[in-house]
Amino acid sequence: MSDFLRIIFVNVRRHRLRAVISVAGIAFGVAAMLTIVSIVLGAVSMFQDILSSESHYIVFEKDVSDLFFSSVVGEEVEALRKLPNVAEVDPMLVGIVSSPGHPIITCFGVEAGDARLRKARWIGGSASGFDSEKETVYIGVRAAEFLKAAPGDRVPIGKATFRVGGIFRTGNGFEDGGVFMPLPLAQVFFHRPDVVSLATVRLKETDDGKAFQKEVSHIFPGLVALEDREFNRNYSQFKILTMTSWTVGLFSFLLGGMGVANTMLMSVFARIREIAVLRVCGFSKIQVAGIVLGEAALLSVVGTALGFAIGLSGLAVMGAVPQLQGYVQADVRPSILGLIGLVAFLTAVGGALYPAWFASRIEPASALRFE
């Protein structure tokens, strides 16, 4: 077996340039997929983290495709609070604005006792005046960096200017690159009086979750309550983002696979007589095909390793670039790495199937006849 593997290694080494091109194709495919999928999963994960902070259920408007367009009115929030199994309700209005030089600033309109504020670590100032101080917002540490703001400063956000009441860090890229503002201020700012995007609900007894869901759908026909995990699975924006990232990644893999197919085919064409001699030496068709597939597998392993290195380095760089406002918090999961590795392997070996089949059908006499 070791001699068989050695033949594979030597063959790859002999065609260095082709091997390098193939490895590069696979590596860029792997890096692209890893980067895109990890960034999207990271973004989804951050958003999920915001929504599910210390809560069990998310209540929002039924049949809306995007939470930004969801409307839950103040009466409904108050009615939710009065339900017997409800321990806490945190309403939140979400909006996105821009400020000069910064295209995206996510704003979260919340109440003073919101769980998201409780978990924040205050770098400067505090949330003590969250309810009482007028025209005051509380900004994340990354937002403070790019807005060059300190507590007490006034910062432009959208078309308005606000005083900075405090600077916090939660570790969540959207929150650290965004702004918390008192709910009434946010409702005025986004022209959505007495409306919130959603309410996160913590129950007293989680075992009664299904009963809570039924109660919500019965009392509020226009709303829906989804368990956090259920929401993550069903929220169409998450699904679209995830599907898109995998699709883009797969297409980049296909390009890599075509590169392998091209390389292996050229390699086989260049070695027709050599393969004929292997057949003369007693190599079976399966052994010959195994050599070609083994070469592709070797290229895929090297390409995947290189692609992981490129992708992880790229993600690390993007996470540190100030211009990205901390929104890139890649979620690199072992399962994703495994899946990408598997796809890379299958793509490379798949690309080598035809060359392997072609090589296995080379007949010595015809290949050697014209020597």
């Binding site: 070791s2 001699d3 068989f4 050695r6 033949i7 030597v10 080494r13 002999r14 007589r273 050599e274 001699v277 292997l278 057949r279 003369v280 030496c281 007693g282 190599f283 079976s284 068709k285 052994q287 007949e363 010595p364 006499a365 015809s366 050697l368 006849r369 020597e371």
Partner: protein, 234 residues
């Protein structure tokens, strides 16, 4: 026959290792007939030369006799097996046959030893046994010092001697050689042919070679002139 090289004076009447009957072969959908009704039987330890001018069909006949190519009609039996079947061809190539070509057809970038391992790898032979066998073969041709050299570092004669060794790694009973001395200078060619004679005489290996060089014919047990698609005893 006169013996320029030391081969067996005559083949003993043992069961033939190769038997061919009424072989026909043409190319280009029958428009170019090459072999027309060739018959041949080769005994163990026999050196048989297929002699003829370029394009006479001697290489084609050699390919048919060795199972490298299939005849349009006629039968071939090698060591009692029908080479028309893939499993038989594999079995023969792994255990019964060795091949030497005009161009050595060694794999570039592999070392001498790695090239010699190829038939053993195909046959799944034990590594240690193969190592001993390769050492012995290289010792016999005086190239044991060069086992770690890549084939492109060898001279033409050395490469051809290595190619002969490769043909012998799996202890074949028949060696098919297609113009094995065609690209070598005279002294080197003499050395290669002497090696074939030695193999036939000492190890009982049947040698069937296609050649156009007359000076080796005297040392062969039989010379078959390939002419108009037939093998005629010379």
């Amino acid at each position: 026959m006169t013996t320029l090289f030391s081969s067996a004076p005559s083949a003993t009447p043992l069961a033939p290792v190769v038997e061919a009957h009424d072989l026909w072969k043409s190319f280009d959908n029958g428009r170019i007939p090459v072999i027309r009704g060739a018959d041949l039987s080769v005994a163990p330890g026999e050196i048989v030369a297929l002699w003829g001018s370029s394009g006479s069909g001697k290489s084609t006949l050699l390919h048919l006799l060795s199972g490298l190519d299939a005849p349009d009609s006629g039968t071939v039996s090698i060591l009692g097996l029908d080479p028309a079947l893939e499993e038989n061809r594999l079995r023969l190539r792994r255990t019964g046959l060795g091949f030497v070509f005009q161009l050595h057809h060694l794999v570039p970038d592999l070392t001498v030893e790695e090239n010699l391992r190829l038939p053993a790898v195909a046959a799944g032979a034990a590594r240690d046994e193969t190592t001993r066998r390769i050492g012995k073969l290289l010792n016999e041709i005086g190239l044991e010092e060069r086992s770690e050299h890549r084939v492109q570092d060898l001279s033409g004669g050395e490469r051809q001697r290595v190619a002969i060794c490769r043909a012998l790694v799996n202890r074949p009973r028949i060696v098919f050689a297609d113009e094995p001395t065609g690209s070598l200078d005279e002294p080197t060619a003499d050395g290669v042919f002497a090696r074939f004679c030695h193999l036939a005489k000492k190890e009982g290996i049947a040698i069937i070679l296609a050649t156009h060089e007359k000076r080796f014919l005297a040392a062969c047990h039989r010379v078959l002139r390939v002419q108009e698609g037939r093998a005629v005893v010379q």
